[in-house]
């Protein structure tokens, strides 16, 4: 489904990502781990079109993605969250979910002004989908709060819900457990598994919380200082000497 081949990203003199490869199959959870500054987020930024990679290829369902504008990549079904939550803080929780479903605004401008039945039906569908996902992540009661007033854990869940209403095929989560307490992390764990099992979404996960990563990943890629270090099943990674060294060396 997704194939990243020899991806490189250079910022001036710094080679932040160096020949990283990655592949994700349907309904698979693949994790990227690595010490701070390893280049994980940069890989995401290349995949989601925020950066134009300086080398390598990104194939999504057989089509080349590198260099495409971010919003087009998102419309094709590759959607991401951010390491630092990026919500529309002054808009309400539902509105956050509605905005995510507004990709084709130009077509229904007039229909919206006139309030045609077709337009109303579509709006209702967006509302229903928003309600469904709010219920799913336990935020339905807070639907009309400002998103910026939510607790941190709730904001994280809202961000995931906001991706899910776009009905993505591949979800990229950048450190979704950062700042969550153990109970919340456990909920997140179940949510991610359910995304894969019940909604047929593939997930690429960047995470520092090793127990979470080991628990839910089908496969893990380790990068260190921009370079791929190892890849394999959680079991293989756990016993890989290079990985142990890199992590112990850092810690």
């Amino acid at each position: 489904m997704l194939e990243v081949q020899n991806l490189s990203m250079r910022f001036g003199g710094l080679l932040a990502v160096d020949q990283v490869s990655l592949d994700v199959k349907e309904r698979e959870i693949v994790s990227i781990i690595g010490p701070n500054g390893a280049g994980k987020t940069t890989v995401f930024n290349c995949m989601s079109g925020f950066y134009k990679p300086t080398g390598g290829k990104i194939l999504f369902e057989g089509k080349e993605m590198q260099g495409k504008p971010d919003y087009k990549i998102s419309r094709l079904g590759m959607v991401r969250t951010f390491q630092h939550v990026r919500l529309f803080t002054q808009m309400s929780v539902v509105e956050n979910l509605l905005v995510a479903q507004h990709r084709h605004l130009n077509t229904n401008m007039l229909a919206g002004l006139l309030g045609t039945p077709n337009y109303k039906a579509r709006e209702q569908k967006s509302l229903d989908r928003a309600a469904y996902w709010l219920e799913r992540v336990g935020l339905l009661d807070l639907a009309n709060r400002d998103a910026g007033n939510l607790a941190y854990g709730q904001q994280r869940r809202l961000e995931i819900a906001r991706c899910m209403v776009t009905e993505p095929k591949l979800l990229m989560l950048d450190e979704p457990a950062a700042g969550l307490n153990p109970a919340e992390t456990k909920e997140l764990n179940q949510l991610i598994i359910s995304l894969k099992e019940d909604y047929n979404v593939s997930v690429v996960l960047i995470e520092h919380d090793m127990s979470l990563v080991m628990d839910i990943s089908d496969r893990i890629n380790v990068i260190n200082q921009g370079k791929p270090l190892a890849s394999g099943t959680p079991e293989e990674i756990r016993h890989n000497d290079d990985v142990i060294k890199a992590y112990l060396g850092e810690a």
Binding site: D70, Y71, T89, M91, V99
Partner: protein, 423 residues
Amino acid sequence: MAANNYRHALFCAIVTLIISFPILGLNLEAQGVNITLTGAKTSTYIAIFMAAVAVFVFQAFRDSFMGMLGKLPTLNPLAHKEPMEQSKRVKLESWIMTGLLVLALFWPFFVSRGSVDLATLVLIYIMLALGLNVVVGLAGLLDLGYVAFYAVGAYTFALLSQYTGISFWMALPIGALLAGLFGLLLGFPVLRLRGDYLAIVTLGFGEIIRILLNNWTSLTGGPNGIGGIPDPTFFGMEFGRRVKEEGNTSFHETFGIAYSGEHKVIFLYLIALVLAVITALIIRRFMRMPVGRAWEALREDEIAARSLGLSRTAVKLSAFTIGAFFAGFAGTVFASKQGFISPESFVFLESAIILAIVVLGGMGSQLGVILAAIAVTILPELAREFSEYRMLIFGAAMVLMMVWRPQGMLPMKRIHIKLHKQE
């Protein structure tokens, strides 16, 4: 208090002296062919000195002053009331709106011609501010050249009427569409710009349009402007004492009433009222539509918006175009009201006033913007004696507002959306 504070205060006081002394303390007087430099009265010198002292005191104790200012809302009896329940608030708001509207409909028949004329101007400003509210308040794009689109609307009508004899009703959509087109055209080069950069480029655009109108004498008449812009007609009936165009009838003859110059003024007012209401309703509708939410999303976080598949180009251009469209509307009405326009009506100050209305009213809030438009247009008229100090009062009001209530008089409230639980 830190010594640093006093040093800063001293600096400010000296700057005050440096600036005000040559301006107020020295006079150039013509004596025959010669010009001599004379000093001012002693009282002026004392005043300058007092001003410097005042600046020093304020700057030295600024933190405590600002702190006191911050506590002021407690004087406001409404400040600590629980926010009203959503449904109640919406009801109250629509009652206020309807009440205002009914009042606005009948009011012109009981007041003087001058008041109606002023009210028409207020309505024009309401249209402008509502349009700019889309660009600045909702989409978060700081546009300092908004007056250019107003000018496009006004000049479209003026020029078309001069060269083709077009009527007001034909010019209204054409002017608005053309202004919208200009908005679209301006949108392209500034797509990537944000904040200060955007402000500067739009400011430049506004000036380009004005200077173009000023210098393209062969077409626009330059600083002399264009006159003889026709009044609107009422189903083909003219409001003049005598019919100007062959084949038209006049309003007062058709209805068999005595001619009065007031008919026209009231009619123009009613047109402006209807157009302002239409503007408010359409934009209100936009705010609850995908486009409106996309504007706000772009204001809140452009990167997140793009990551969800919103195209920055489409969202920004739609905001610019729609904002400009309503400025064109207002421009056409303005041209018809004045009967004469020149580039002088479209200076930067106008942009600044419209922007001030939006900021004072509360970004994104329609009721707030309408109230602010009324206040900003009418207060200077009521306080004619102070007209010299108009800009000073204006500036002071803005500064106070930013300190005391940065969100504006009536900040925007989110629309409550009812959701049904899904299976």
